[in-house]
C-alpha cells in the first residue's frame, strides 16, 4: 500500500507528527507515513484539497475558515485531533520595548504584561505624526492573529486602525525585525527565542498568558478522506494520540528537541528548541529565563481533544475582525468541522480517556480542575483564563460579540442572532 503523505510546517509544534513517525507510533498502528515539510500554510491547504497530501498540521482556524468559505480556496476540511495548546509568544523589537518601559514602567513589570504601555507609545506616535507600528502574524486565519488582536483590544488598541498588521512567514520573522520592517510579531517557537537570543527583541507576553491553554494547531484532513478511508484516518488518530502523550512527558522533551533540530523538521539549533520545550523561555537576554511549564502542552489537560467551544471562539474572532461578511450558525458550523465523535472512537480503541462533553465554558477556571470522562473517571484539566478575565460561554455567542468593546464587524448582530437562537 502507498504510504500516507502528511504535511508539516517547520515549527516546534509539528512535534507530535515528527514523534509519531520517528518513534514508530504510526507503524505500530499499521500505517506507513511520509512527512512532507511545506513552506506555507496556503500550500498545506491546497495540497490537502487536491489530494497531494492526505492530511496535515494546520492552524486551528484553517479548517474552520475553509469550511465557512472565507479562505481563498473554500474547500471544507475537518479535524478530529488538536496537536497542541499554547506555544506562541508576542515579541517586540528592543527599541519598541524601551519605549514601552519609558511610557509606563509599572505596566511593563508585572506579568502578564498587558498592552497598556504599548497604547501609550501609540498615542505618542499619533501626536507626533509618526507612521503606524507594524506587527506581523503568520496567516490571516492564524490563532496568532486572533491572540495578538485580543491582547491589543483588551488594552483598548484597535488592531485595524491603531497599528498595521501584516503577514510574514515564521522563518523570516527575525530577519524582518532586524531590518526594522516590523516592530513586533506573534509567532510559534523557536522564532521568538531566536529574536531574543540575537538581542533583537523581547518577549512581552505568551499565548498562554493571553488565554491559558488555548488551541493552536490541529491535524486536518478532507471530509472525503475521513469518510472513504475512515479506518486509516482512525489509525492515524490512534498513533497521534499516543505520540502526543509521549511528546508531552517532561522526560522526553530533550529528545523531542533533538528530533526537531533535524532539517526534515524545524532545522534550528537544538538548544534553541530545547528552551521552550523544557518550559524555560528566555524573554530578555539580560534576565533569567521564565519558568513556564505549560508553554507547550501536547496532551495533558485533554489537549488533543477538538473542543467545540474552541472552534466556536475562533469562528467568533473571524466575525469580530471582519473576516466574515455573512451570518453563520456558529455552533452548527463548529460541529461540522471539529469532530469529537471521531476523536472518541480512536481514543476508545487504545483505552484513553476522552471528555464526555464537547463544550466547556472557556475562561472560567483559574487553576487545576477536573472533568468527567464519560467512563466514570476524571481528566485533570488546566487553567483557561483570558488575560482580561472575560469568560466565554459558547451558548451566548452573540452576547459575547456584542460585549467585545473593540471590533470590526461586517455582519450585523441582529442577522447573527437570527441564526444563533
Amino acid at each position: 500500500m502507498k504510504p500516507l503523505r502528511l504535511g508539516i510546517i517547520p515549527l516546534s509544534d509539528c512535534a507530535v507528527l515528527a514523534v509519531a513517525k520517528e518513534k514508530g507510533f504510526f507503524r505500530r498502528h499499521g500505517v506507513e507515513v511520509t512527512l512532507s515539510r511545506e513552506v506555507s500554510w496556503a500550500n498545506v491547504r491546497d495540497k490537502v484539497a487536491a489530494g497531494a497530501l492526505d492530511g496535515a498540521q494546520m492552524l486551528a482556524g484553517m479548517p474552520l475558515a475553509a469550511s465557512v468559505g472565507i479562505d481563498p480556496l473554500a474547500r471544507p476540511l475537518i479535524t478530529a485531533l488538536s496537536l497542541d495548546l499554547n506555544g506562541n509568544a508576542v515579541t517586540v523589537s528592543t527599541d519598541l520595548w524601551k519605549r514601552m518601559v519609558r511610557a509606563d514602567p509599572e505596566a511593563t513589570t508585572k506579568r502578564p504584561i498587558g498592552a497598556g504601555a504599548l497604547k501609550k507609545v501609540i498615542e505618542e506616535d499619533r501626536r507626533s505624526g509618526r507612521p503606524l507600528l507594524r506587527f506581523a502574524v503568520v496567516y490571516p486565519f492564524a490563532s496568532h492573529n486572533y491572540e495578538l488582536r485580543y491582547w491589543l483590544a483588551a488594552a483598548g488598541i484597535d488592531p485595524e486602525n491603531d497599528v498595521r498588521l501584516v503577514v510574514v512567514p515564521p522563518p523570516r520573522m527575525v530577519e524582518y525585525l532586524e531590518r526594522e520592517a516590523i516592530d513586533g510579531f506573534c509567532v510559534g517557537e523557536p522564532w521568538s527565542s531566536l529574536a531574543v537570543q540575537h538581542d533583537l527583541g523581547r518577549i512581552v507576553v505568551t499565548k498562554y498568558e493571553i488565554w491559558n491553554n488555548s488551541p493552536e494547531k490541529v491535524f486536518a484532513v478532507s471530509p472525503a478522506f475521513a469518510e472513504e478511508r475512515a479506518e486509516e484516518h482512525r489509525a492515524l488518530l490512534r498513533a497521534l494520540l499516543e505520540a502526543a502523550a509521549w511528546t508531552d512527558a517532561a522526560e522526553n522533551r530533550a529528545e523531542v528537541a533533538r528530533l526537531l533540530a533535524d532539517e526534515r523538521y524545524v532545522g534550528a539549533a537544538e538548544p534553541l528548541l530545547r528552551a521552550s520545550l523544557s518550559g524555560r523561555l528566555l524573554a530578555s537576554p539580560d534576565e533569567a529565563p521564565l519558568e513556564l511549564p505549560d508553554f507547550h502542552v501536547f496532551h495533558r489537560y485533554a489537549a488533543s481533544f477538538p473542543w467545540i467551544s474552541h472552534a466556536a471562539w475562533l469562528l467568533l474572532q473571524m466575525i469580530r475582525w471582519g473576516q466574515m461578511t455573512e451570518p453563520i450558525d456558529v455552533l452548527a458550523t463548529a460541529r461540522s468541522v471539529y469532530r469529537p465523535d471521531l476523536h472518541r472512537e480512536a481514543a476508545r480503541d487504545i483505552g484513553l480517556a476522552a471528555p464526555a462533553t464537547d463544550v466547556k465554558t472557556e475562561g472560567a477556571h483559574a487553576g487545576a480542575w477536573s472533568l468527567a470522562d464519560g467512563d466514570g473517571g476524571t481528566i485533570a484539566m488546566g487553567a483557561d483564563l483570558f488575560i482580561d478575565g472575560r469568560p466565554f460561554d459558547p451558548a451566548k455567542t452573540v452576547e459575547y460579540l456584542a460585549e467585545s468593546a473593540v471590533s470590526d464587524l461586517r455582519v450585523s448582530l441582529d442577522a447573527l442572532a437570527a441564526r444563533n437562537g
Binding site: 513552506v39 506555507s40 496556503a42 484539497a49 479562505d71 481563498p72 522563518p171 524582518y176
Partner: protein, 194 residues
C-alpha cells in the same frame, strides 16, 4: 480592444521565470514585474498594480499574498486565488505543477484562465526536465556503486562477475532493499575495514 493583462511573476528559479515571461508575452500579456520574493511583497503588488500574480508554490510568501484577500484601508484592491472553486481538475493540475495564481481586483475569469494554463505548462516542462536530469545523474551514480560492490565480492570471495551480481541481487531481495542501497552498504563496510 482590451488592454493587455498585467502579470507579476514571483519565482526564485530565474530560468523558469524568464521562459514563463516569454510565453506570456507571446500570449499577449504584459509582464510588469519579476520578483524573487522577499520583503514588502504587499507594497510591491500595490506599486506594480498587476491584474494577475503567478507564484511558485515553493515560495513562502504565498501566505503574504493570501493576506491581501480583504479590502482594508491599506489594501484597496483585494486579491483572490485563481482557481475555479468547483473545478477540482484545475486545482490538481496547478498543485501538481507547483504553481499558484492570484487575481487582483476582480478581473474576469475567462481572461485569466489562459494565463494559468500557460504557467502550468511551463512549470510542468521544468519539472520533467529536472526529473530527467536527476534520473540520469542517480542512475550513473548507482551503476558505479553497484560495480564497486561487485568488485569487492569478487575480490574477497573469489567469485566470478555474474556470480557476484547474482549474490548481490539475492541479498537485496532477501532484505527487501534496493540493489543500489545494498551496494552502498557493502562499499561503506569495506571502506571501514580497510
Amino acid at each position: 480592444m482590451q488592454s493587455p493583462l498585467r502579470v507579476m511573476i514571483i519565482d526564485e528559479k530565474a530560468e523558469r521565470a524568464a521562459s514563463l515571461e516569454a510565453a506570456l508575452a507571446e500570449a499577449g500579456c504584459d509582464v510588469v514585474a519579476r520578483l524573487v520574493t522577499r520583503a514588502d511583497l504587499q507594497d510591491k503588488v500595490n506599486q506594480a498594480q498587476p491584474d494577475v500574480v503567478i507564484v511558485d508554490m515553493e515560495c513562502p510568501d504565498r501566505d503574504v499574498l493570501e493576506d491581501m484577500s480583504r479590502i482594508t484601508r491599506h489594501q484597496p484592491r483585494p486579491i483572490v486565488m485563481f482557481v475555479d472553486r468547483s473545478d477540482s481538475e484545475s486545482i490538481r493540475a496547478a498543485v501538481q505543477a507547483g504553481v499558484s495564481a492570484y487575481v487582483v481586483g476582480g478581473v474576469q475569469a475567462e481572461r485569466v484562465r489562459p494565463v494559468l494554463e500557460v504557467a502550468i505548462a511551463r512549470f510542468n516542462e521544468f519539472q520533467s526536465l529536472r526529473r530527467e536530469l536527476e534520473d540520469a545523474r542517480s542512475s550513473l551514480v548507482e551503476r558505479k556503486v553497484i560495480e564497486r560492490a561487485k568488485g569487492i565480492l569478487m575480490k574477497h570471495r573469489g567469485m566470478a562477475e555474474d556470480e557476484a551480481f547474482r549474490m548481490l541481487r539475492k541479498m537485496a531481495m532477501d532484505r527487501k532493499m534496493r540493489l543500489a542501497a545494498l551496494a552502498r552498504e557493502i562499499v561503506a563496510a569495506a571502506d571501514l575495514l580497510q
